[in-house]
């Protein structure tokens, strides 16, 4: 065996050892693949959640929407759940509306200013809105308040579809235009559009279907009671003022300028009390 052979064998052995050493997996702590929390109370997994709630709109333009409702949710596991929420509500004028109305004339005049009734009767309200959604709860934990109260909480995010009922009630005496934006034949004469959107029907009532997004927090007061705080976005086609939005001189759909209704976000803040069923909880290993 000459020196070359010995060198090749030694090199091969070295490479082999090196390869073996590098092939060994890096030694990790036994906690590396462990869950973050052991013996954790499964506060939502496999439980049915019923939450009476209060909801109020955030930064509404013309009408605040304030109401109460119910959330029903079933937690398929620790992270995923499905649910529905429905809210019946009433509407209150925003301060913007109050400021505008005080400056408007009582009755229609020859100017382009709307009368008080024309302005107010075009506004719509939202007597009912709801959503069906799937929910993801990626974060859970516990907190200490004033170093005294230790409570569990979780953050969740929701996405789904929304269904809303809009209402506007403009009487024929105010919304008197029967052919907004179009010409009609009457007795052999053509009556052109009046180009006055103030007396057009607002076309902002009825049912709407759109997208729903939400995010919130459960703060568990006990094993089966939780404070539920949520910000919800019900997004659908709407024209809250009921007036001409696209400057085509009438309320409706224009071939070139589109519809006065447009896709709008309706932000709400909700606070509820979640009741979990069954009322007892299980623990993780």
């Amino acid at each position: 065996m000459n020196k070359t052979t010995l060198f090749v064998l030694a090199l091969g052995a070295l490479v082999g050892v090196t390869t073996t050493a590098s092939a060994e997996p890096r030694r990790l702590s036994s906690l590396h693949d462990d869950v973050a929390v052991r013996h954790r109370r499964l506060l939502v997994s496999g439980r049915f959640e019923v939450a009476p709630l209060f909801e109020s709109s955030i930064d509404a333009d013309y009408q605040h929407t304030v109401g109460g409702g119910l959330k029903l949710e079933y937690h398929l596991g620790d992270m995923f759940s499905i649910g529905v929420v429905g809210v019946g509500s009433t509407s209150l004028h925003t301060s913007l509306v109050d400021k505008i109305v005080t400056t408007l004339p009582d009755a229609p005049n020859m100017t382009k200013d709307p009368s008080k009734d024309q302005f107010l009767d075009h506004l719509n309200s939202m007597p009912f809105h709801s959503a069906a959604y799937v929910s993801l709860t990626p974060w859970y934990g516990k907190l200490a308040a004033f170093s005294q109260a230790y409570v569990a909480f979780d953050f969740y995010f929701q996405a789904g579809v929304t269904f809303a009922m809009l209402k506007s009630s403009c009487p024929p005496t105010v919304c008197s235009d029967t052919h907004p934006g179009t010409s009609v034949m009457s007795g052999g004469d053509t009556i052109p559009p009046d180009n006055d959107p103030k007396n057009d029907p607002p076309l902002n009532d009825g049912q709407r279907v759109g997208l729903y997004l939400g995010g919130g927090i459960h703060v568990f007061l006990s094993d089966f009671l939780a404070l539920d705080l949520t910000v919800r976005d019900y997004a659908f086609s709407d024209n809250p003022s009921g007036a001409d939005f696209n400057a085509d001189q009438f309320v409706g759909t224009s071939q070139t300028l589109g519809d006065d209704n447009r896709f709008l976000h309706h932000l709400f803040f909700g606070a509820g009390l979640s009741i979990m069923f069954p009322t007892t909880v299980k623990r993780t290993p």
């Binding site: 702590s29 869950v35 973050a36 930064d59 959107p197 939005f245």
Partner: protein, 343 residues
């Protein structure tokens, strides 16, 4: 004498066992479960180490490989004390400065070791409160908080801000700080719609800048797990302050000049802080700036309120809640901290 001799013999056996265990201590992975009466490493409870010493029938103590770290003594990795010296080691952290996750992992690694019989005492176990130490200390540290913000409650004019705050923590829950913000504005959809649909020109003010002296109080802290794996600590704190700011009238008619107002602005806020490292946090929160602002008078013409001074003297006043959402990164100085209490 008999009793003394018996004790002497027992002490000899224990000493031999300790010597043998010290000699045979090895990096064996996955030590056996600690049987009743097993030997507990001194200082283990206080140290919160990952390792658990266990005495087998042969008297051999198996050390967890992660805890052993090649040492022959029964010293927990998380710190604590060496058996021989009996000293309590305060600087047990082997983590790199700023490694918050390593500290958290160490806290989670505490393994209760049952060591022998438990004597019943009049004190209930419920009287013993186990609290891990806070993973983040703020006392005598300075927070540099660059932030951005946006209006939450104005449907006519939206302000975005860029600013920052210096806060010094007198204790772990109390801080005093100075903030400053610069505002830029855009008009929201109703600003144009009101003018076009209701034929009314809105009266709005823009905000230019603000500064305040703030006090922070941190009553709530906690931790949460992300996707059941990563632990993140957080806290909630409240803010109250007093400051000044400047608003400026946006003239309805550009032919007439606007004017500025110096505002006294108390503020209230609630915020959350998420700890990413010993020197870095993410902050977000809501702040309500309260002030009485002066707006452009309704009637302005060539003969009435034509000048800025005249218009300001006849300005309409209104109380304003300017609610802002703010978010930013906080940088902490010094970049690390030392504990003064046991883990």
């Amino acid at each position: 004498m008999r009793t003394l001799r018996h004790r002497s013999r027992s002490a000899l056996i224990v000493a031999l066992a300790l010597v043998a265990s010290t000699a045979f201590a090895d990096n064996k992975k996955g030590g056996a479960k600690p049987p009743a009466g097993g030997t507990k490493p001194a200082g283990g409870a206080g140290g919160g180490g990952k390792g658990s010493g266990s005495g087998g029938e042969s008297g051999e103590i198996e050390m967890d490989s992660d805890a052993g770290k090649g040492s022959g003594s029964a010293k927990p990795a998380g710190g604590g004390s060496g058996v021989d010296s009996g000293e309590i080691q305060m600087d047990e952290d082997q983590n790199k400065p700023g490694d918050l996750s390593a500290d958290l992992a160490a806290d989670q690694g505490n393994v209760a070791v049952k060591t022998g019989e438990v004597k019943k005492t009049p004190i209930s176990w419920k009287d013993i409160i186990v609290v891990i130490r806070k993973p983040f200390l703020k006392v005598r540290r300075t927070e540099l908080y660059p932030m951005v913000g946006t209006t939450m409650n104005d449907n006519m004019i939206r302000h975005e801000t860029i600013g920052g705050e210096f806060a010094y923590y007198l204790t772990d829950v109390l801080a005093i700080g100075v903030e400053g913000q610069y505002y830029v504005h855009t008009f929201a959809e109703p600003f144009d719609l009101v003018a076009r649909q209701a034929r009314r020109l809105p009266t709005v003010n823009q905000y230019n800048w603000s500064t305040a002296l703030d006090f922070h109080y941190v009553p709530v802290y906690g931790k949460f797990a992300v996707l059941d794996h990563k632990l993140i600590t957080w806290e909630a704190y409240f803010t109250a302050g007093i400051g000044v700011g400047q608003s400026e009238v946006v003239p309805r008619d550009k032919a007439f000049p606007g004017f500025t107002n110096l505002l006294i602005e108390p503020n209230l806020g609630a915020n959350m802080r998420f700890f990413l490292a010993k020197w870095l946090t993410v902050n977000l929160g809501i702040r309500d700036y309260l002030f009485i602002d002066k707006y452009e008078p309704t009637n302005r013409s060539a003969t009435m309120n034509a000048t800025a001074t005249e218009a300001q003297s006849h300005a309409d006043s209104a109380f304003v809640n300017n609610i802002m959402f703010q978010i930013g990164l906080s940088f902490w100085l010094p970049t690390s901290f030392d504990y003064t209490t046991f883990r």
